[in-house]
């Protein structure tokens, strides 16, 4: 492998010290004296029609700037999913609507001088509802007599709204029924994964204002600044040209900020009143009225030969998109497309998904994006096949998993709402990941041993995973570089660092390519006026697409520099030029010139021009990162409490461009996955109201919840990625549910079919076994 100067080093995150010293870097760290505060009124009914709404008193309340309802706002039906265009999510949403589809749906909003005034004015809005029967359960929603949630004729792109079906997928390879018939064993099981929330510590927040030319500036906490611009333009029916979106530092996203939630409303108030407007979600609003993970029931059936080779794999996914269909189709696609190719030996594969509208909060994109739910079931059923054939979990996976040079028909058959793109694996270290992870956890010594200490029993389990690096031939990112006198470079790119460290990696890529230090790169992102386009941060696209764009821009700059040097040196073969340590040297003649001298010459002296370039990256490849997860748990048979003792994750993300940042992504995703496996879950009342929409009752992990965590980074080289890299942000959230489920089975021989594995469910499983 090539030696790098900056790639593969732990360059300190370039924004970290500013963040750690409390500089004003977030959306809400500015204020305008005449700023309006936006507050929302929400539906108390899970399903209802607004028969009458009277805002007269609210409008008259002193300090109120504007009251918004369906009567005086945009009537453009759209999707809030911040995806590429044309969007694969159905158009089923208005800024405000007459029909209420869940407890938490928007009835109205007030923009007022203070938040208190806005809250008081909301109380003065009189609403008369006609309450409709609601449906909270996916299976009930599919019944003939179920109330129809989207009965408006304007709905576009939903599969069959009359049957509450937001999306439907059916993909067949070979013939699974024949495959099962010809298998020696057939195993089938179903697991249910719940509603959960991303819980970024900074909730959704947007500030809008008019610039000196009357254009609308949207300063917002988003993962998708360019999609925000496009969708706000669509909803407000104004040209894209009238809008500027600025993404400052973002306080976490995890998918929930891939959604246009506050931006259109805020921008509308600013457009109508001319005043700056601010909307900041409370924690309760973040839980109830932003987005969640799709609750899913996943059924997997595997047929295998005696030697363990899979002959047929069938997956059926029932997915709950809640009241609106944002990411309905694509999350369900990914539940199959990011899991099934892992077991590419099976000649017969079938994937079916039904995505259902219910009168519950809106699901959306969440780190893992369906793969988390798919693996929750798949990786436990794989273990069940192993047990039936008396193979170990390691053996069955080693026999069946995808390897370098191989492909799976699923890559082509199942794309993101359309046909996919065939992928051949060019880097895949799964064998090594399994071997190293097993060694670290002590697999041979511990598996099947069921060490007991009173009522507490130890067990170990494992699972393997893949994800992707962006959506092939869909996701595009671009970057612009320009050179300054002191050999510093401005990097302006659309990539959206939401805390991951993408801006730092971008600086490292530039530094590596141009023979400078990362500190010499001034990174600016993302701003729709000043930076080129990028789809944004989702689908594990940051390193691969945004980073790839930065590399392409830097390669063009290299060429431009060499062009100048050719003339300066009177030499013509750039292969003789070495660009490092801030200068270009000719291997042939020994002549040398610093980058600073080149900049001065081109800016001021001779053949004057700006050395600058833009690179774009779109790829037919979406190289999957891979991971093997191993966990040792202790389960108390008396209390049902599962305690993870040690968690090992071995990860192949190609070249780790910055190992410390990679480690951060691995551990961060893993801990989120651990709490999703063990305690995070929405609970609803019978009327569909979320119970406990705060951090007291919906607990997310704290320092006390983490076991010993050992991340192992296995370096490979992915030829299609920047300096051999693949993306890594999502994959590690997928492991804890199946790995802990398998460890639980190893310890006490039971499976809990409903996630999270809370003590009550563990105890119930123990009782059922007896």
């Amino acid at each position: 492998m090539k030696d790098f100067k900056h790639i593969g080093t732990n360059t300190g995150k370039i924004d970290a010290l500013s963040l750690a010293t409390g500089q004003s870097m977030f959306v809400d760290d500015i204020s305008f004296p005449d700023m309006l505060q936006l507050k929302f009124l929400y539906s108390p009914h899970a399903h209802a029609i607004i028969e009458d709404i009277d805002t007269t008193l609210a409008e008259k309340y002193p300090g109120v700037g504007m009251v918004l309802t369906y009567k005086n706002t945009s009537r453009v039906i759209h999707t809030t999913a911040g995806q590429g265009w044309p969007e694969p999510s159905p158009y089923d949403t208005y800024m405000f609507n007459r029909k209420m589809r869940y407890i938490g749906d928007r009835v109205a909003a007030v923009a007022a001088e203070t938040e208190e005034i806005a809250q008081e004015a909301l109380k003065l809005i009189k609403v008369q509802y006609k309450v409709l029967p609601a449906v909270l359960d996916m299976e009930d929603a599919m019944k003939d007599e179920a109330p129809i949630i989207h009965d408006e004729p304007e709905v576009k792109g939903a599969y069959d709204p009359k049957r509450n079906l937001a999306a439907h997928i059916l993909v067949k390879v070979g013939d699974v029924e024949k495959g099962f018939a010809e298998s020696d064993v057939v195993v089938e099981d179903t697991f249910e994964v719940p509603y959960a929330q991303h819980c970024p510590i900074e909730p959704h927040v947007t500030i809008t204002y008019l610039d000196e030319y009357g254009r609308i500036v949207i300063r917002t906490s988003t993962q998708v600044p360019f999609h925000v611009r496009r969708i706000v333009a669509q909803v407000l029916d104004i040209p894209v040209q009238k809008i500027r979106v600025i993404k400052p530092r973002i306080g976490g996203g995890f998918g929930v900020k891939q959604e246009i939630i506050l931006e259109d409303v805020c921008a509308y108030v600013t457009m109508k009143t001319g005043k700056p407007t601010r909307a900041l979600y409370t924690r309760e609003e973040e839980f109830v009225s932003s987005r969640t993970r799709h609750q899913m029931k996943v059924n997997v059936k595997i047929g295998a030969k005696k030697d363990g080779t899979f002959n047929a794999v069938k997956m059926y996914v029932l997915s709950n998109t809640g009241a609106y269909g944002t990411h309905a189709l694509t999350v369900a696609s990914n539940a199959g497309s990011k899991t099934l190719p892992l077991y590419n030996k099976a000649p017969n594969v079938e994937y079916i998904a039904d995505v259902i509208y219910t009168n519950l909060p809106i699901a959306g994109a969440y780190r893992g994006y369906g793969a988390t739910q798919g693996y929750a079931c798949l990786e436990q059923v794989v273990d069940e096949v192993a047990h039936k054939l008396e193979l170990t979990p390691l053996e069955i996976r080693q026999k069946n998993h995808i390897k370098s040079g191989e492909t799976s028909p699923i890559f082509r058959a199942l794309g993101e709402g359309r046909e996919g793109v065939t992928q051949y694996m060019q880097s895949c270290a799964l064998d090594e990941l399994i071997e190293k992870g097993a060694k670290e956890i002590g697999w041979l010594e511990k598996y099947g041993k069921k060490t007991r200490n009173g009522s507490k029993v130890r067990g170990i389990g494992m699972s393997i995973h893949m994800q992707g690096s962006a959506i092939p031939l869909v996701d595009m990112g671009a970057a612009t570089l320009k050179m300054n006198e002191d050999a510093s470079f401005n990097l302006m790119y659309g990539g959206t660092d939401l805390g991951t460290g993408l801006d730092t990696i971008a600086a490292q890529i530039v530094a590596e390519t141009l023979g400078i230090k990362p500190e010499q790169v001034i990174v600016y992102a993302a701003d729709t006026d000043l930076t080129p386009f990028d789809v944004g941060a989702y689908a594990s696209s940051g390193t691969f697409i945004s980073g790839g764009a930065v590399l392409r821009a830097a390669m063009k700059i290299r060429e431009q520099i060499f062009e100048v040097v050719r003339e300066m040196f009177g030499e013509y073969d750039a292969r003789d030029f070495v660009l490092e340590d801030g200068k270009v040297t000719s291997k042939k003649t020994g002549k040398s010139v610093t980058l600073s001298e080149i900049a001065y010459q081109t800016l001021y002296v001779k053949n004057q021009h700006q050395i600058a370039a833009t690179g774009s990256m779109v790829s037919p490849y979406s190289p999957p990162p891979f991971a093997a997860h191993f966990v040792e748990i202790e389960v108390d048979e008396e209390t049902g409490i599962i305690t993870p003792i040690k968690y090992v994750t071995a990860v192949d993300c190609g070249t780790p461009l910055n190992p410390e940042l990679v480690r951060g992504q691995i551990i961060g995703a893993l801990v989120n996955g651990l709490s999703y496996a063990l305690f995070e879950e929405y609970k609803f009342t019978d009327s569909g109201r979320m119970i406990g929409s705060n951090f007291m009752e919906y607990r997310i992990p704290s320092t006390r919840d983490i076991p010993e965590i050992v991340p192992i980074i296995v370096r490979t080289y992915e030829p299609t990625g920047p300096y051999g890299a693949k993306s890594v942000a999502e994959i590690n959230i997928n492991g804890p549910i199946p790995a802990i489920g398998n460890a639980l089975y190893d310890a006490i021989g039971v499976r809990v079919h409903k996630v999270p594995y809370i003590p009550e469910r563990v105890l119930e499983a123990i009782r059922n076994k007896k």
Binding site: L19, A20, S24, G251, G499, T500, N694, F695, I706
Partner: protein, 156 residues
């Protein structure tokens, strides 16, 4: 009503409403380094030191701490002259989105004042009220230990 604080060593006087919490008073007056909005004391992002001890400013009545010394993250170090904790958080990769970082560092600061040589367990117990969704905490704990080492070497 009026309250008077010493914030990061500077005397300040503010006009407040009787029921206001400290977080709102601070942010309204431009102390944007104080984050958080759960208003239940559950996430810890709004932590400030009041007379040297960490409190969640979202649940602290502004009037109650009239006359106190308040320290925000800007009071323990600057971009030009960061505190070892701030340096260690950068070095160990303990800052991802950075939204929880000021609160977490202030709690760690209070810990190291009383316990210059904390074990992993001490750190976990002390930081358990500061939620972070990005890091998974491992690097934060490493950073606090590194800072403890730096402080012992006299790097302050």
């Amino acid at each position: 009503m009026k309250v008077c604080y010493s914030i990061n060593g500077k005397k300040k006087e503010f006009e407040i409403n009787a029921g206001e919490v400290l977080l709102d008073v601070l942010r309204r007056n431009g102390y944007f380094e104080v984050k958080g909005n759960c208003y239940m004391g559950t996430c810890g992002a709004c932590t400030v030191l009041i007379d040297g001890l960490p409190y969640t400013s979202c649940t602290m009545l502004a009037a109650k701490v009239d006359g106190s010394e308040i320290t925000t993250i800007k009071g323990i170090g600057t971009l030009q002259n960061p505190h070892p904790l701030q340096k260690a958080f950068v070095e160990k990769g303990a800052v991802q989105c950075g939204f929880c970082t000021p609160g977490t560092i202030l709690v760690a600061y209070a810990l190291l004042k009383n316990n210059p040589d904390p074990t992993d367990d001490d750190i976990k117990k002390m930081l358990d009220g500061n939620l972070c969704r990005c890091t998974g905490y491992v690097q934060q704990i490493e950073a606090v230990k590194l800072a403890a080492k730096m402080l012992k070497k006299g790097d302050e």
